[in-house]
């Protein structure tokens, strides 16, 4: 009896070990294949503009005129790049302070109410489909801006405001986690030295969690950079660099979504859209690297 248990005992362990290993291995393999084929697909399509259609990469990055279907075909994507950067960075400038304050409120000021009610509500924002954001932007924000500011209400300002609400959950969640992970000794030390609550938050808490907050903001920018539908509905989509925040302009994503279905795979216009997608992907890589770098600097 005793002998048989001794013999049998190691078996499930080995089996479990192998099941776990094989399962993880398969998952990782699928992930890697999926990511690499995606990168390869976008890159191979996107590079065709330069190799097959003979467009100068510099022209794509710095050209001001976009008319790939015209005679002659023009592939200046700078207005889109400008539009993408300006809307996402402006959105982060709006959402960053809001997210930080929400996090401070939920962790420091009213943890009970904040964590129980406010946090789920803010996280709920992440689950709302982007077409809803776009429609709310088109129905509420655009008419409001049209009444207050010169212009038609559409443009970078409307896009940035819609995006700021969309990226608020990302920034708030990361800031809240960082704040909650802050060693209590830091704050207690500050209080012991006679600092008030606001002095502590401003002088001790904010500088310490700044890298984490910036990580959240960069992830938010990356999210805003890739958002297509909501922005497309409120930005106007003219392929020009606007003269004000309230004039029609375009982003990389909105240019892609507007024309991808209307163009034929393999045509110069379609390839140019893939090049825009390639620029988007490379920018996302840059954002990921910035996040890694910020995480490395984290003081917590």
């Amino acid at each position: 009896m005793a002998q048989s248990t001794k013999v049998q005992q190691p078996k499930p362990h080995i089996a479990e070990e192998w099941v776990g290993r094989v399962y993880t291995g398969i998952c990782i393999f699928i992930l890697i294949v999926a990511i690499f084929s995606m990168v390869y697909f976008v890159a191979s399509r996107g590079l065709r503009t330069f190799i097959g259609d003979g467009v100068n990469p510099l022209e794509l990055l710095t050209g001001l005129k976009w008319n790939p279907g015209g005679e002659p075909a023009l592939f200046g994507a700078l207005p889109f790049i400008f539009g993408s950067f300006s809307t996402s960075i402006l959105a982060a400038l709006i959402a960053g302070p809001l997210g930080f304050c929400a996090a401070v409120f939920m962790v420091e000021i009213m943890p009970g109410f904040g964590r129980k009610f406010l946090q789920p509500v803010i996280e709920l924002l992440a689950g709302i489909p982007s077409v809803v954001y776009g429609f709310v932007g088109l129905s509420v924000i655009v008419p409001l801006f049209r009444d207050i500011f010169p212009g038609q209400g559409i443009g970078i300002a409307a896009g940035a405001l819609v995006l700021s609400v969309m990226i608020l959950p990302t920034i708030t969640t990361i800031a809240t986690d960082a704040l909650a992970a802050l060693p209590s000794g830091l704050k207690e030390g500050s209080y012991a030295l006679g600092a008030t609550r606001w002095q502590t938050i401003y002088r001790i808490v904010l500088p310490t969690m700044l890298p984490a907050l910036l990580t959240g903001i960069v992830l938010g920018i990356a999210r805003a950079f890739g958002e297509a539908l909501a922005v497309q509905m409120v930005i106007g989509n003219a392929p020009h660099i606007p003269r004000s925040l309230f004039e029609s302009t375009s982003t990389l994503t909105s240019a892609i979504t507007q024309s991808m279905g209307n163009t034929v795979m393999g045509s110069a216009h379609n390839n140019a859209l893939w090049s825009l997608a390639l620029i988007l992907m490379l920018m996302t890589f840059v954002f990921v690297f910035i996040v890694r770098w910020l995480e490395g600097r984290s003081k917590i």
């Binding site: 008319n67 038609q152 509905m233 029609s248 979504t257 507007q258 991808m260 163009t263």
Partner: protein, 324 residues
Amino acid sequence: MMALVLTFVLAACGQSNNNGTNNGGNGGNTTNNATQGSGNAGGNAENEGNAGANEGNAASELSGSIIASGSSALQPLVDQASRKFMDENPGVTIQVQGGGSGTGLAQVSEKQVDIGNSDVYAEEKLDADKAAELVDHQVAVVAMAAVVNPEVTVDNLTKQQLIDIFSGNVTNWSEVGGQDQAIQIVNRPSSSGTRATFETYALGMKTEDLQGSIQEDSSGTVRKLVGETPGAIGYLALSYLDDSVKTLQYDGVDATEENVANGTYPIWAYEHMYTNGEPNEVVAAFLEFMMSPDVQEDDVVELGYIPSSLMQIERDQGGNVTEK
């Protein structure tokens, strides 16, 4: 049984030839389709027992699957007709996908789908040799009208006035007989089939995207923006017109179904369903169904398209109009 089905295949092909105006199919594809057809016939034999319930209706013995993709403007019609067709032919499944005219044409050209729906002629999107392989089936006509914000006082625009507005030479409504208000253009993206139709038949020229103009791909968004933005002008398919926007006359002609049918109103386009070579049995039966009074007089009208049968004129790709 086999002979009966094959007779039907031939009959269906013949009929669809009469319906399509462009018979550019090549021989290679026809053989291909014939093999597919006999494959389906084999499948039919197995389903014979079920089909027996609907006796007398040859179409009910069909089985197979059809995938159609392309134009989002044509999608609701094909989708609605396909559901009717599937009710009558339980053995057939039809999937209708959107994606845009370009996607539909590219996919049917590469044989990824059976039918490519398009707002424009294949020749405008595909290379000439690829377009030549496709067979055109014009299932409906869609007409468009220039629309403005309801507060704009202009009722009629001439072709030259529209050209001036959309090319940026005229930027205030007072220059075309309206109140003193800036004109806001609500356009479609340059790749859009709707824009191509409007530029070809209303303006007669291509226009550039102007600084400050708005571009939206979806008709619903265009209508909303034109209806809400002061001084806005855009263009919509007749099925999208309602009280939120004001419809303009073009050169003094109202945008109505009768005026399109008798040829006095020029801003319209055929809705195309392309097949790669001659269609196989099931696809041919479906295309024939699309042209039948069942669909033409019911769904086509209901969804705001104009039935091809109503058209008193014909127009080829070059824009040459002939009496039917």
